[in-house]
């Protein structure tokens, strides 16, 4: 018995030592948004196979990613939401926002017998403000000439949990409706004037599917994968654009500021879908901080650069919108601006 225990302990100790030596290679830790998690999983898996650098990403939500980056417990954060002024101040040092891909938010509905409903920005805002309460409202009819819309009461469904999807949706409504901007504003969690809340994309989709006459908003990928009915939205140029990967990429064809802290909602691009949004990787511009070696910083910068260039080809098959050429150029510039003790890393 004693001999068996001794042998067992030796084996455990040996395996512990062995794994410790494997852990000698650089491991990059990141945390944040759940929206790009499937894409990041695939990207990091391929990156580790090609370059031998493991990336450990925890999808704890955009807010969590920002918090962990401010606390410097992770090497990079990921967020669907641009960091606010308060958070940038709390971080103490400049943080770069590198876009990786884009997604879109679709307005889904449950109208038996109707498909391809078209909605205008003011109609969406007034539905979510509680001012339009029936589908037979003349403003909906005027956008959908020639379609017979059943006279059902409108049930508004929104997200009950904090989410980047809500941020994109509320950011759009704040831009197109002064009433919304004053009453509600933009954020991951809002004081919704009306409607029922459901948890996550599946929650909203499930509730919309069950409730005749309901309207809700979900991620484009979710709507595509679950074959849901979603509406075309009129963009700033007056076109009714159907949400798709192509129209999301088209939304990037506008003037993008060099720090890339821009939202794509209500885009000026002629054929762009107005409810699109980037998802960003966040990192400190000056990488020489506590516990961060130059080798780790260099690996991080290489990883982010790979994600915005070679990694882009994995986006479209997974139904994420890859970056347009201009966005890639701006992302490259941001990555090159990362320094360690003032010295460029790439």
């Amino acid at each position: 018995m004693k001999r068996f225990v001794v042998v067992l302990f030796t084996l455990i100790a040996a395996s512990g030592l062995a794994s410790a030596s494997f852990g000698e290679q650089q491991e990059i830790i990141g945390a944040g948004a759940t929206f790009p998690f499937p894409l990041y999983s695939k990207m990091f898996d391929i990156y580790s196979r090609e370059y031998g650098v493991k990336v450990n990403y925890q999808a704890i939500g955009s807010g969590g990613g920002i918090r962990q980056l401010i606390n410097k417990t992770v090497d990079f954060g990921a967020s669907d939401v641009v960091m606010g002024e308060a958070d940038m101040k709390a971080a103490g040092a400049p943080i770069i926002h590198v876009p990786v891909c884009a997604g879109a938010v679709v307005v889904t509905y449950n109208l038996p017998g109707s498909s391809d409903v078209r909605l205008t920005p003011d109609v969406i805002a007034d539905i979510y403000l509680g001012k339009i309460v029936k589908w037979s409202d003349p403003r909906i009819a005027s956008a959908n000439q020639g379609m017979a819309i059943p006279d059902l009461p409108l049930t508004v469904i929104h997200r009950s949990d904090g989410s980047g999807t809500t941020f994109i949706f509320s950011d759009y409504l704040s831009k197109v409706s002064k009433g919304w901007q004053e009453k509600v504003g933009r954020g991951t969690a809002l004081n919704w004037p009306t409607g029922l809340g459901a948890k996550g994309n599946p929650g909203v989709a499930g509730l919309v599917k069950q409730t005749p006459g309901s309207v809700g908003y979900v991620e484009l990928i979710y709507a595509l994968q679950n074959k849901m009915a979603y509406s075309s939205v009129r963009n700033r140029s007056g076109m009714f654009v159907k949400p798709s990967i192509a129209s999301t990429i088209a939304a990037m064809n506008t003037g993008l500021s060099s720090d890339m802290r821009v939202t794509l909602t209500d885009t000026e691009a002629a054929e762009g879908y107005p409810l699109s949004g980037f998802t960003w990787v966040l990192a400190y511009r000056e990488q020489a901080y506590q516990g961060h070696t130059e080798a780790k910083a260099r690996e991080l910068v290489r990883l982010i650069r790979w994600m915005t260039h070679e990694g882009q080809k994995y986006a479209e098959p997974m139904q994420y919108a890859p970056l347009a050429r201009d966005a890639v150029a701006k992302a490259e510039a941001l990555v090159r601006s990362v320094t360690y003790n003032g010295k460029g890393l790439l």
Binding site: I60, G61, S62, G63, G64, I66, R67, G84, A86, D87, P153, T155, S160, D161, G162, S163, V184, G185, R186, G187, T188, A189, L190, N191, W192, G195, L196, G197, A198, K199, G203, G206, L207, Q210, T211
Partner: protein
């Protein structure tokens, strides 16, 4: 090697032979055990060699009890400390304000307080009726036998079902049913809302009151019941006038347990309550509970006051649960039948 046991029995200061310890042999195990667990102390008396002596055992028990209390206070203190930013900024108005706006930074917990109390109390009212029925049925009528075991097992199974499954089942089957009823009676056909959440909660909390109630009812002394029966009482009168009053405090303890479960229930409630952060206007309206808002918004909350407000809601829930438990205990003590 035989050993002699010597002890001073007559007080003369002289140790006399009082026995012998058996040597190794056929009684080897007994001897070994005796040698392991029983030793001789300095004056020749038996002494337990087990490390688990009486005093050690008592010390361990005290330690466990005290660590439970310490843990409770640690939770209370850590909750208070983390919610300080919100307490400093909003103060006591937090308990009466009904606006929850993360964008402008205004937080008030009244809608969640109302939602929690409403759903828990309505669920309790519904559940008590069924729990009482089940506990009388199993404690009085079918105390033994296959029917009894079967029903007992099913009721206890209800307690074992994970709450997330109640939530899914509620969302998939119960909500459409409630929506159907709502459409018939011409209220807003949401399906989700306070009533749905209360109904699902009541199913979840039946087992707690039922099990405890059944135990207590079956422990009512038979001679009390027989005395009543011999005086000409019907079975129903025996239950009403003898059994229930006797088992009153135990049944109330079970009810308190159920209420405690209902107050803290998160997953099932958050899926069927409609998650509207406004004060509910009717029983069919959507609402939100304290546990549900924390579960929903905690991961994405950024901002010191926002996070602190969520922790303060946890603190309020903690305090409300504590108050209800204390009040319940007082009621139970007052209701207990003197023996």
């Amino acid at each position: 090697m035989e050993r002699e046991r010597r002890l001073d029995v007559d007080g003369h200061g002289e140790k006399e032979l009082i026995g012998r310890v058996a040597p190794a042999g056929p009684d080897m195990i007994q001897g070994l055990a005796r040698r392991a667990f029983v030793g001789t102390s300095a004056n020749g008396e038996y002494k337990s060699r087990l490390w688990l002596t009486e005093s050690t055992f008592r010390k361990i028990l005290y330690l466990s009890g005290i660590s439970a209390i310490v843990l409770l206070f640690a939770i209370l203190i850590s909750l208070s400390v983390s919610s300080m930013p919100a307490i400093k900024q909003i103060g006591l108005a937090f308990l009466v304000r009904s606006v929850w706006d993360p964008v402008t930074g205004e937080f008030g917990s009244l809608p969640f307080l109302v939602g929690t109390l409403l759903t828990s109390l309505i669920a309790l009212l519904i559940a008590v009726v069924f729990s009482l029925a089940v506990s009388i049925f199993l404690g009085e009528y079918y105390r033994r036998g296959p029917t009894s075991s079967f029903i007992k097992g099913i009721v206890e199974l209800l307690a074992g079902i994970p709450s997330v499954i109640y939530g899914f089942w509620g969302l998939a089957f119960f909500v459409p049913a409630v929506r159907f009823v709502e459409m018939r009676i011409h209220v807003a056909p949401y399906g989700v809302g306070i009533l749905t959440a209360s109904l699902i909660l009541s199913i979840m909390i039946i087992p707690y009151a039922a099990s405890l109630g059944r135990e207590v009812i079956s422990l009512v002394p038979a001679d009390l019941k027989e005395a009543a029966l011999s005086l000409g009482a019907t079975r129903f009168e025996v239950i009403k006038k003898v059994v229930l009053p006797y088992a009153r405090s135990g049944i109330l303890a079970g009810v308190l347990l159920s209420l405690g479960r209902a107050l803290g229930e998160t997953m099932a409630v958050t899926m069927v309550i409609g998650n509207s952060n406004m004060l509910p206007k009717s029983i069919f309206a959507p609402a939100n509970t304290m546990a549900s808002i924390i579960a929903n918004e905690f991961t994405e909350a950024t901002g010191k006051v926002y996070l602190a407000s969520l922790v303060e809601i946890a603190l309020v829930l903690f305090v409300v649960t504590a108050i209800i438990n204390i009040v319940g205990k007082v009621i139970i003590i007052k209701m207990a039948v003197e023996r």
